[in-house]
Subunit: 290 residues, 2 copies
């Protein structure tokens, strides 16, 4: 039996999923739907999708992957669910979950939808950013799993397993709160670090000649797509503001310790934070065991 | 002719330099000097050094690499210069340059000293962190080169070239100002990001299960050694406080835009900062050309 997989939005995440699915299954046809014609043509040329498609073709779909900015997600997901057949599973990959779940809570095809957030990515975007094995050993958070038809959960999980994802179940409110800390705040921290240094460079030439791998690592996320990230910060405003306030408070306290020559305090702050080593390693070990 | 290279402090930087020098030259004997006996024994076992040594042996040295925390540097460099012979070059690898240059300005052997900062490293420390090729295509900033005897500059440059470093000349005050932006601020940004998320985890279990590669990259420097970084922040206090104030100001402005629902402003901030891509790439391209 052939499985028709539709990918709506063929960028980094949608494109990488399409590539992995094509590698893992030999009975899959991947259809691409894109508002950007150039991206659609590129995805076809790169072999990420097999065919171009439009919403009217969605009745053919066995699986629909929706990988578009989260503000567009909120307006498009109801129309996508309207267009699919009763036996199709639709899942999103958005970095926020509350508003997406909320907007679909009373949709007649709610049981065809699975709310997902695969925590994977790079700082690049567009079809050319799509790579194989992006999701191997990465966490995919699924929200409100009980609202999805069991048979359709199974179909999606088969694909998630094939691309190497670990699954975690969580409610959408907890998801948005936690992800603000471990993802959204990192992006703002990197963007503002980049801004601070770029502003300085205006007057001080060649400052980037001095940038080492440490700076590159810390600022890497400042290369991310503003079109994707602006709606994420908008949808998760309340949580993001809270994390930002805590971060600014910690930075200000560090600055005060410096101003007061409290080097023992500074040493202790860094020493306590060093335990991030163990925490991140523990995570890696966990992933290897599973 | 045998060259006797002394490495004082055999951690990540001193140990990696020793490894590369041993690979590049077959007529070198590397002597290790360390206040930590266990580290010294480990460096010998790992083959990073050929022999253990003490200050009294420094008269045998043709080259001395001083890779110790910058506060210890300030007290030890005068004694090290006192101990070496007239034909020996001593260079440091400290992340601050003003105080180190200042403390040696009237030393009778000032012409035997070369003030250096190889911008290279990882988040690990100790002899076991030493790796080959750490300095390939990395910038080494040399300060007050005109104060070092020409013949001794040449000897050091031969070694820097052999390990693959690019050289930049700069005065110590400009060095400390610029490096605060591209290195010291990144470390504080990462440490405080780590702290903010760890504090949250106290009450919210399993938050790190959700951490992806973006978070790991942004927080990586929070694994760095507090013993090495506390004295750096102390010596460069004025510049570091200035960068921190600008960073906090940018983060606060971003938060205000969020609170005011100014998403066009947020988009523009990120879009403007995206040019960090071009800047970091330009740097890479430069390195490839040279």
């Amino acid at each position: 039996m052939i499985m028709n997989v539709f990918v709506i939005g063929i960028g980094l995440i949608g494109g990488s999923l399409a590539k992995d699915i094509k590698s893992a299954f030999d009975n899959v046809t991947v259809y691409g739907v894109e508002s950007n014609e150039a991206n659609l043509a590129e995805a076809l040329t790169l072999g990420i999708i097999d065919k171009k498609a439009i919403y009217q073709d969605l009745q053919l779909a066995d699986m629909v992957i929706v990988s578009i900015p989260v503000d567009v997600m909120v307006t498009e997901l109801p129309a996508i669910l309207d267009a699919v057949n009763e036996d199709c599973v639709v899942f999103d990959v958005g970095s926020t979950k509350s508003q997406i779940c909320k907007v679909l809570e009373n949709h007649p095809k709610r049981r065809n939808f699975l709310a997902c957030h695969p925590i994977a990515g790079t700082e690049f975007s567009g079809p050319s950013a799509a790579i194989n094995n992006l999701f191997k050993d990465k966490t995919n958070i699924i929200c409100e799993v009980e609202l999805t038809a069991f048979k359709l959960q199974e179909r999606a999980l088969k694909v998630f397993q094939a691309v190497g994802m670990r699954i975690r179940y969580m409610n959408p409110v907890a998801h948005d709160k936690h992800i603000a800390y471990v993802s959204h705040l990192s992006h703002i921290s990197a963007f503002m670090l980049g801004k601070t240094v770029i502003e300085k460079e205006k007057n001080e030439r060649d400052i980037f000649d001095m940038a080492g791998s440490g700076f590159e690592s810390t600022v890497r996320l400042a290369k991310s797509s503003p079109a994707m990230w602006t709606p994420i910060f908008k949808q998760n405003k309340e949580n993001v503001v809270e994390t930002l306030e805590e971060y600014i408070q910690n930075l200000t306290a560090f600055k005060e310790m410096l101003l007061n020559d409290d080097y023992e305090g500074i040493y202790n702050e860094m020493n306590n934070t060093n335990k991030i080593k163990g925490i991140l390693n523990r995570n890696t070990v966990k992933q290897e065991i599973e």
